[in-house]
Point group: D2
Chain length 405, copies 4
């Protein structure tokens, strides 16, 4: 009777997620993947958008679901895709974030200077491949762009990959920022493969793509690069930096064993123990540390940890121009005076954010015209906005203690 | 210009939440309330419904929002409500969960035998009232049912209170279990106050109420009392029980300082230190402990912690009848044999769940008829289901190690 | 490049609808099917629920979409389904309503006593089959239950067919009555085929089915059998009855040529002209007639038409018991007196509605248990409500002129 | 008990609509307003988006609802608004479309050259004011911009009025084009009134406004100005033009009495009979006429009517440049040759559509900055797109008979 079974996972974003192959389920059950349940998708953004408590675990499942529907659509349009290719593409996207550390990008460099999460993902995927006796080999090829049919890699990683489609839709859903609510299902239905084997979009889907690009832009400035989001990420980085510094000065900071390991670790090639320790870490280690470090003797560490845990956030001002050095220096001086410290410069900081809504040069998006030829999105005569989205916007955020404002 | 300001918080469930009075905002900013950001609304249910990562913090805001709309509706129907009453009702519901411990109900008794979260909420609300110089006095009266206009207390705590309306809608939203998606806005719009000053529902809203009652029933059996949810809650309780037991036997269990405090605490009147320690605890303390205790020398503690953290859950079977003692004993024996232990009884357990979908005796729901008289929901000639929902349903869930199944 | 094309139709209910086979598109383009654009799905219900202006055309497309997803699910569960079977099942459900007359069921008997819309659908489907050179033969077999694999017919017509799934979801969506918002996608995902080749539901989907049954019950009493809905349908029937009567008395009633044809038609076997005329009729013919007949010399006809067109509806009272004959007669007498007429009995009427939420005897719903055996929904030990939904509920609605109330 | 009553109308778009004042309900019940039930909001767009069958009636209610929430928001921000002002503003927006003819804008000029629907709305509003004994006087002042508090008129008619907010959201909802799904509730919550008494948007709402402007742009090009939508509107105009022409040539065209009246009417000042006849017309008159005129002896009229009724639409091609005159002439010649006619020029037509997404010159949108000063949206340093949306885009659509393509 087993053949009639079909695993289903509830997902408020996509309705529900079917798991059509056993190997997918096995990977999901692996502790490496289960760990993602304890890693938030959007870090501390829930300080600003309280609904944003969703996890990397759910995002990975959602991206896998979109991969499935994308491949179904392509098959319906006559593109032949084998069961092995389908499995591999779904595995690749399922595992794409498996190397994410706690609080995502913000802390990776802090914990392990010489790695970044894609390397880690690859490293962990290779370990999984060993455990699963090579069943993930094709998935790894696709992930790395080594497979000859390029559209598989483009579905995994490009300006229109299912990763972006899921996280934009998911983050919009959980934050409640409806401006980012892209129609992932529609975009997927417009996908096609051109003669060269590359991912393209049916020409009539052009407005859905342009809408996707603007929605993404709004999500960046309204959510990811929101001045308080930027601040929260900054605080996290500074807290870990300060902790590492204090440890290097001989201060004994309480933390979970695995987090302590990384505070003390010297940078060099990843060892087996590094890997093992890393896969034990999640958001809880960091939050717990911040809860404790609120009582640290170090003013800076204590100050920043209280800011986060009690959500008593420093002041921020935002500008489309860099702040004047003099203005910043005054803030530092006032801070030093106010608190009677001399490292107030650590509490005053200019954070910079920039965004290119659409990169028309590197891996541009192509439309498939009725004549069977592809054309660059921003060169189509039908485009309304794409040509306007090819310049970078930047914002500067100055943060300083609320006490001096 | 300050008067023109209106604080707004994003909420994917209700659109967004307005905070119309300053005192509400001040309470929200208090560390007691901010702590609720780190306490999940549905405990470990995210092991079964991965979207269910929402917090008590967000729920409390949502319930406050529904209170606001309920009062607006009543005012539009001609019920006079003063600004002070509005503030108080909103404050009361905002704070109703402030005494929640980590992982909610499941662990409260374990941590502090002689309290339960409503007592704690009251205790903490009293402390807040002191801090806010008596501004919460009326809210406390309403919360305790001491205020003479009964409908305020009924909006806070009854079979149709805004607490239930928010958590059912919110839990349905985040779990993705659409069967529980009640129309809170519609129910609120049907609220009224009868001559006796009690909360009633306009007669034409009867089906919305019956639908609410069935939706609630489905949420219980499909989500809260889902056999794996019941199991997860059971595991949590057993883990803390075991930890307390081991500590009482002199075992030194690593944990955060505040959690250790409660593992060692003897039951008696709550002291100031108890209160302080309690307000430092959140879900992270428990999760972190379980992560560490996976490596405990105690087989039972280690076994259960691994189950939760790696989501490698014990087996469950469900029945509408109690399980046969003989059958249970055999499972225990097999467990003992399999693991070579003699306390297998701790790994085999019958969990019981029962639900009364609608209590027609205690605080029944009343409809307001066109003639101005109220009538009990289940006695209305229009009722379709209410009369059928007044009997308890129960389920028995037997759990035992997956290894012996 | 044609093979890469995939027709897509926007649908706010299901997202969008893919048309995977050319023949489906050809049938959709046929004037028989296009006519359904001008036939409302829920007749005059938009007088009560102003959003309910959706059409049979859209419903048929939606049901076809659900058929597609149902068959996809079954294939994923290992049921083999050929392309020809898929096409046929989609065609059958696409055409299932093609015989619907204007304002649906209400007027069919009035226009053509001896037919009903399923006969007509079959008749028109046969004509289409001739036009399409036999391409619809298998669809016709499935529609009529003559195909040996029973589940195809059950998907077309049973207590859980895709027709119901679509119309409940669609009507709930457009009326805004959220109590009827079933999770069609989830129910479809729980479908399976048992050893006997019959449609069953995976046992774990039981609550979704029970929720579907209660949602359907609420939709009936809250929408379809709402007292004003019942009234509107009654008015329509009475208007056409009166028009036929007047015509039989030699009165010359203005109407479109095709409607006049049916007002004068004697009942007997359907002729070719009958069929042709019928396929020219739609809601507009009836509405236009009512607009004109408002000015009829006949008081009854004029009265009823004004009621509908100006939405100045007669009074209704509802009861779970039949109304007393004496009470009704008094209403008639008052009506006669008030208007100075002697056929007031035509303006006073008791309308009856009854519903069996779940028929456990005729074509019951079956669950597929883990052991591979099927069990009747209402006999499962897990059922919560099904056993309660097997008795009929009825309501009596008395209507009389608002002027006398 | 009457004071406790609150009329509620279901609306799938806004949840439901409360009618807080009796006079609003009375206007809604008036035949002038009930007629809007039979006038589609988006004309023939349901030929392309089958869900778009919603009516002007529902839109007017929706806009009234948004007006109510906008005024509630402003009151919460400290703007004083009297009950009389609230009533008047709600009445004004409720009636703003009461002068709409069948199939909206497209046919107005055809039916009554010298009027347009805003004049008609005003005319009909004045008549209603007479009937309601002057109760609508303030509403009329606001509608005409004569009331001294400008923001009322701006809420009724400006680049950010509640009319636009409702129709964009509603049309997006019913068409299923999610790209146009604006967050009306959020925009409303960001509304404010500046010192000068004008409508402004809180500065932090800037991205919601920019998203609104882009969503509107997408709705225009994807829905309202979709090449097939443009075609359908063109066909309607041409059909009525042709009918008027034929009538002027002495041809006797069957139609309902009221439509015939306008086909024969000479242009001049509106008479009382004109007004009366106009208020009897709705979409059904036009559709019925097209159904009949399919069989007209006039090739052009018959051809166009068949196109619409059987949805067998002419061919269209779209371009961002005007079509070459030579190319068009060739199409005309081929058409003449193919059908053996000499007025093929009536079947070949270049339709032009242009859009200015944001008009920064005429009634620009203003943001309210923290310093209490207003600033033009496109001059804010935070704007991302507004500066890019101030140039017109245009498209040219050439239509010609499918037979010659």
């Amino acid at each position: 009777m087993n053949i009639n079974k079909l695993k289903i996972i509830n997902d408020p974003v996509h309705g529900f997620i079917k798991i059509p192959h056993e190997i997918l389920f096995d990977v999901i059950e692996h502790p490496y993947f289960q760990r993602l349940r304890r890693i938030g998708q959007t870090g501390l953004l829930n300080l600003i958008f309280p609904g944003a408590t969703h996890t990397r675990f759910h995002h990975a499942l959602g991206a896998m679901h979109l991969m499935f529907t994308a491949l179904e659509t392509l098959k319906q349009k006559g593109i032949s895709i084998s069961v092995e290719e389908e499995k591999a593409a779904m595995l690749a996207i399922l595992m794409h974030d498996v190397g994410h550390g706690p609080f995502s990008h913000a802390l990776e460099s802090m914990l392990m200077d010489d790695w970044h999460h894609e390397n880690l993902s690859l490293l962990l995927m290779n370990r999984l491949n060993d455990e699963f006796k090579g069943e993930l080999t094709l998935a790894l090829e696709m992930f790395q762009g080594k497979y000859h049919r390029k559209f598989f890699n483009q579905l995994i990683s490009s300006q229109l990959d299912v990763d972006r489609l899921d996280y934009l839709k998911r983050d919009s859903f959980f934050t409640g920022v409806s401006e980012g609510n892209i129609n992932a299902e529609r975009i997927v239905s417009m996908m096609n493969v051109c003669e060269e084997g590359e991912l393209v979009i049916d020409a009539k889907g052009i407005y859905s793509i342009e809408n996707f690009l603007t929605a993404r832009m709004f999500m960046y400035w309204q959510v990811y690069y929101h001045k308080t989001s930027a601040l929260a990420e900054f605080l996290l980085v500074k807290i870990l930096e300060r902790a590492k510094f204090l440890v290097s000065q001989g201060v004994d900071l309480p933390a979970t064993e695995n987090l302590r390991y990384f505070l003390y670790r010297e940078n060099n090639e990843a060892t087996d123990e590094d890997i093992f320790r890393f896969t034990q870490l999640d958001d809880n280690d960091i939050i717990q540390a911040m809860k404790i470090w609120r009582n640290s003797d170090d003013f800076i560490l204590s100050y920043f940890c209280k800011c986060v845990i009690e959500r008593n956030l420093p002041k921020t001002i935002i500008s489309s121009q860099p702040f004047d050095a003099k203005f910043i220096n005054e803030k530092i001086k006032t801070t030093n005076d106010f608190f009677g410290i001399n490292n107030g410069n650590l509490l005053v900081h200019e954070i910079k954010r920039k965004l290119l809504p659409y990169d028309s040069e590197k891996q541009p998006i192509y439309l498939l015209q009725k004549n069977g030829k592809k054309i660059r999105l921003d060169q189509s005569q039908d485009q309304l906005l794409s040509g306007l989205l090819i310049t970078k916007t930047q914002r500067f955020i100055l943060t300083f203690p609320r006490e001096i404002s």
